[in-house]
Amino acid sequence: MINYFPEEVLWHVFSFLTSHPDRNAASLVCKSWYNVERFSRGKVFIGNCYAISPERMISRFPRVRSLTLKGKPHFADFNLIPQDWGGNVYPWIVAMAKGSTNLEELRLKRMVVSDESLELLAKSFPNFKSLVLVSCEGFTTDGLAAIASNCRFLRELDLQENEVEDRRGQWLSCFPDSCTSLSSLNFACLKGEVNVAALERLVARCRNLRSLRLNHAVPPDALQKILAQAPQLVDLGADSFVHDPESETYNKLKNVMQKCSSIRSLSGFLDVNARCLPSIYPICINLTSLNLSYAPGIYSKELVKLIHKCKKLQRLWILDTIGDKGLGVVASTCKELQELRVFPSDLHVVGNVAVTEEGLVAISAGCPNLNSLLYFCQQMTNAALITVAKNCPNFIRFRLCTLNPTIPDAVTMQPLDEGFGAIVQSCKGLKRLSVSGLLTDQVFLYIGMYAEQLEMLSIAFAGDSDKGMLYVLNGCKKLKKLEIRDSPFGNMALLADTGKYETMRSLWMSSCGVTFGGCKTLAEKMPRLNVEIINEGDEMEGRPDDRQKVEKMYLYRTLVGPRKDAPDFVWTL
């Protein structure tokens, strides 16, 4: 019956479909639904920029207004992927410019973005409103100047953790006086000076500014003046804070903070003197999000005092210098906590200041709404994980990282299989999991058995045999991304179910047991997968032997065959 509805009705119904999985499902029902859906889709999400070509994307979704693209695989974050691997956004911008796409939003993650791309972007899309770049590289402040100068309706410029070359230009001054539409400006990752006067004027004329994250170059007295102009801010990031609690600036800052009653989210504090923290106490009571993970200057006692005031916190990112005791305070104060990330303050594993299983157990007991965790810790126990699983069955993301990657249960010296097993069994909605510590095939048996909603799994230094990987591939029906390093999985596991990889976005395996021969076999069998080998060996002499183990393999499904921009060190089999 529904097939006979006029298109306008279908169109209207589809306008309520916002999630990509829903829209993808609807487009599979029949041809007419496919057509209505594709013309009505405004937001396109592409998790792997090499899975499809820009031209095909545009031809399927001609009315795309918002595009999200992801480039390099996740392990690129940890220096496992060499420079110039790929993930360049330029071809996408060229194609959309040619196709007269009415692009309004572009969100990129782990991609290479050149100044040329930014200039083309700025000049090709008159309605462009929002640029969000996360963990990208390849551009300079000249590219930002182009965006500022040309995008007349820019609402959002959000730069998160990018590598940006600072050309000491005046990119901020390039926002014309007529620009009053900014609601979000984040340049915390820029290293260089900015024109503070231009910034102050910009803030003053953008009355809708809700989110502002400044870099280290904005001095405290400027911060105070800016906040005075923007008491409506909801999200503030300030790297350079006042140093002297006796100073005039400190007093002014304290006073102005009291008026910023809308601030719900705070970050930065790279360079803060703990004695000046009381200036932010007035806003603590309303804070829902606090990121102090880049602030080593605040040590435990001060941090704890601060957190004591943040009773409404839902998201907290901190360093492990907070210690187990500090986490205990979080547990007793932040009853509404949903997301916690505890980062390592010291990469040298000196056993100095860190958190252990005790802190995590305390958090789980005090914060039953916890659903997202990233926890770098000195040690862990099965008993603790079992308790955490019982206390917090709502985990969607659970990432545990022991600083020593193969450390056993600190009390029993057993593998941590049972602990993670309890997590997957209890948390029925778990979508993302990272495991670490001493782990055998058993943990993968549990994951395969219980982690029914799991979409992303990260494995390092774990497992005993191919069986481990097989349990996961056979069991996790919704698996999209699997990344494995330094684990003894080989060809048998890789080739057991080759069709599985077409249901997934990608598979990464490095320092495992797969060989060239195995990868070649897979590539031959599955033409719709790109099986890429990354070679960094200087000792390479011609094609390696089939029995040779592969150092790094990245495979992904694609509709467009081998990529044409692969550098010399990437071989597509």
């Binding site: 220096n79 003197n273 080593p296 040298h348 330094d486 684990s487 000792e539």
Partner: protein, 179 residues
């Protein structure tokens, strides 16, 4: 395989079997060391062996590594530390400490002056000599500023500081400022 030695002992190598890399772990080590986070120094303390030479572990993204863990990669900032009553001095590298908590805990370990980081329980007070030659109380200024200007450290007996009006509270930075 990879589990016992965390990467360095792996036999994986890109060399042809029997030829090329006659010392597989050697060549891996060379390659891995090239990519290892550059400020790592393995010689200084008795830390767990080799854990840090695993590329990309712990999995902290490179932006965070560059922006959190040191100001200038590779530069060491050794300063002398003396304690009143101790027969000899020690040296400590400020560039590998992330903040005051770290520093104070290390001082406690080196000298056994437990409680130096706590408010009331210590008989000692840490002070430092700055670039101008003045002796300053540790903790007043942000860490980066401190580590750049500190020339030497001294762990002074609290009794000697009596006349200066040092309260245990002042020492722990701002706790007395209760709005």
């Amino acid at each position: 395989m990879a589990k016992d030695g965390l990467g360095l002992e792996t036999e994986l190598t890109l060399a042809l079997p029997g030829g090329g890399g006659s010392d597989p772990s050697g060549s891996m080590e060379k390659k891995e060391k090239k990519r290892v986070f550059s400020e790592f120094s393995s010689d200084e303390t008795t830390m767990v062996e080799n854990k840090n030479e695993v590329v990309g572990w712990p999995p902290v993204c490179s932006y965070r590594r560059k922006n959190s863990f040191s100001m200038e990669e590779g530069t060491k900032m050794y300063v002398k530390v003396s304690m009143d009553g101790a027969p000899f001095l020690r040296k400590i590298d400020l560039s590998t400490r992330e903040g005051y908590s770290c520093l104070l805990m290390d001082l406690e370990k080196l000298f056994g002056c437990y409680g130096i980081g706590e408010e009331d329980s210590s008989e000692y007070v840490p002070i430092y000599e700055d670039k101008d030659g003045d002796w300053m109380l540790v903790g007043d200024v942000p860490w980066q500023m401190f580590s750049r200007s500190c020339k030497r450290l001294r762990i002074m007996k609290r009794l000697d500081a009596k006349g200066i009006g040092l309260h245990a509270k002042d020492f722990h930075k701002g706790i007395s400022i209760e709005a």
